[in-house]
Amino acid sequence: MTVAAKPLVETAARPVRGGRRFALDWLGAVPFLAYVGVFLLLPTAIVVGGSFVGPNGLTLSNLTAMNKPFIVGAFVNSVVLSAGSAIIGAVLGAVLAYAVVTGNPDGVLRRLVTSACGVLAQFGGVTLAFAFIATIGFEGFITIWLKQHGINIYANGIWLFQLSGLLLVYTYFQIPLMVLVFLPALDGIRPQWREATESLGGATWHYWRYVAGPLLAPAFFGGLLLLFANSFSAYATAAALINQGSIIASLLIANTLTSEVGLAQPGLASALALVMVIVVAIVMVLYTVLQQRTARWLQ
């Protein structure tokens, strides 16, 4: 039984169908929906609509061109990379958030760490790539130091400029992002609950499994979803590290949009963007299912 779900005061159920109350309730959502409609849905519709436009008018050719192996491969790589960096980022981010929240809530350390996380969550692109190149690239000082001690980290290939390298670099901004979105959930855990569990004879494991776990699971999975989407559409860092070919979907989109040798295909780029939205929608469905299952399992 979760503590937060049962209201302390039972009130009369409000009518949910018919009546002015129902219509008025929807008014409260109108500002948000209107704003998002104009500044998000409309551009998205324009982009998605572009995927049905070819050089000779309306066409489905952009969509049927999707099953080329290099396009499918790029999306598979994107999903693998995003899932990997999301899981690693979420777990490590949760650990770091826990270490932060167990400190003084008004202390200097917490302020510094959350501010640093805010900055690093948005750090990316050519400069992040260079930061890693300067650290563990071929001429990075850690690489050189290890080489001086006989360890060649590039003995099996230039992994930094492949998917594995991207995975490492992506965690640099995924972890801070997870810390920021997970901290509020951790803040909601009352220390009295720990005491209560202990006074009832429960061990640490019982506390996490029955008390804190169910409360934190939704926020954890929500963070996981956000990290996935964040990594899926990230482009600039990958473009700096792997400038040849298009091994992930966002690079593929950029290349079909901005090629200056005459290979630009805006219709295809729009179609690829549509597929990206569909993939994330599917992941969101999976996340919803996972969340419901977990909630049931943890009850």
């Binding site: 050519v126 790539a129 260079f130 040798v261 005459g262």
Partner: protein, 367 residues
């Protein structure tokens, strides 16, 4: 004077003024947006006055360290007092054209474009025809006949390298040696960037291929990758200085810019593969500052502008004419690497063939 008479006289005076103004405008030149040359506007002085009135110039994708554009920008502003707004310095030619379309009608749209050949030819509907005063100095095959676009500066594809970090490069095959492990980079992806496409083409010509056959270049880079000498990372000034990309295929004038970060930087053009290319200038048909745009063109193609590019180690399009007239900056011209052979320039067909081949073969070769 009675009220009615006063009103009538005011009306009459206004009519006189209006017709007077109307006469001056109708006897003057065409508007800046329709001017096809400085003469159309009533001469250079009128063009300068109109440009100053507009008060601003928007340029795009013109980094200050690209062929010494920085000097041209400050020179133009110093000479005419017109401030320049330089947007999206790292943008590609396609970005420039996208900006023209997406910002049409706003005051932030680019006034002029400096773009590669493929993008130039694919967007002819965006430009306004204009012939600069030095039009006749430019060869016919380096300009569009009505002035829609005209070549501005160019150079030859080269291999730039840090002589401190890698052995000297005397031929393309040297790059396959063990001293170049994980050190060679292209300036971009050839299916995306013009410089990279020409880099692969130069490798092809030096490797036994020709301007019609880019496959030998793709094979060369495949070999380079298999040996572990090729790195796919984007080459920037920072990666060059840091030593991660000490060998870069790039235009010679762009490569030379690395010299200010790395004093030991050398630029090598293989004598059996001199591949050249020129960029093109065009004026936006819907430029928010049409007079300033045309004045900028005049400045670029004047001796001052052309010599500034020359000082950036690029070859200005009027170079031959200026050498004849003696107006060339001979000190700068002497700094250009000597070219011992006949340069090749890709025709449109060859460029199209090359990009089609790359589209279907590059990713597999390099991936």
């Amino acid at each position: 004077m009675s009220g009615a008479a006063r009103r009538l006289s005011i009306l009459a005076g206004a009519l006189v003024l209006l017709t007077a103004c109307g006469q001056t405008t109708s006897s003057s030149t065409t508007s800046a947006a329709n001017a096809k040359s400085a003469a159309d506007m009533g001469g250079m002085a009128a063009l300068i006055a109109a440009a100053k009135k507009e008060g601003k110039l928007n340029i795009i994708a013109v980094p200050p360290d690209w062929a010494n554009y920085g000097e041209i920008i400050t020179g133009f502003t110093a000479k005419y007092g017109i401030p320049i707004d330089s947007a999206n310095p790292n943008g590609s030619s396609q970005d420039e054209v996208n900006a023209v379309r997406q910002l049409a009608g706003t005051s932030r749209a680019p006034d002029v474009l400096d773009i590669g050949k493929a993008v130039t030819l694919a967007n002819l509907d965006l430009y306004a025809p204009y012939k600069v005063q030095t039009w006749n100095d430019i060869l016919d095959n380096q300009k569009e006949s009505t002035g829609l676009w005209v070549q501005d500066y160019g150079g030859y594809m080269s291999i730039g390298y840090d002589s401190n970090k890698v052995p000297a490069v005397t031929s393309l095959q040297d790059l396959l040696g063990s001293g170049f492990q994980g050190k060679v980079a292209l300036n971009g992806d050839p299916t995306k960037a013009n410089a990279a496409l020409n880099g692969v083409m130069m490798a092809s010509i030096a490797n036994g291929g020709s301007a019609d056959d880019i496959s030998k270049g793709v094979d060369f880079f495949k070999q380079l990758k298999q040996k572990g000498n090729f790195v796919p990372v984007q080459a920037t000034t920072a990666t060059v200085k840091n030593g991660t990309t000490p060998v870069v295929f790039d235009w010679d004038y762009l490569s030379a810019a690395h010299g200010k970060d790395v004093p030991t930087w050398k630029v090598f053009t293989p004598s059996n593969a001199i591949l050249g290319d020129y960029y093109n200038q065009a004026i936006n048909k819907q430029a928010p500052h049409p007079a300033a745009a045309r004045l900028w063109m005049e400045y670029l193609y004047s001796d001052d502008g052309q010599n500034a590019w020359l000082r950036g180690l690029a070859r200005p399009v009027r170079m031959a004419a200026m050498q004849k007239s003696g107006k060339i900056d001979s000190a700068a011209a002497a700094k250009l690497a000597p070219v011992n052979g006949k340069p090749t320039f890709l025709t449109d067909t060859q460029a199209t063939q090359a990009k089609d081949y790359l589209a279907s073969h590059w990713a597999q070769a390099i991936g």
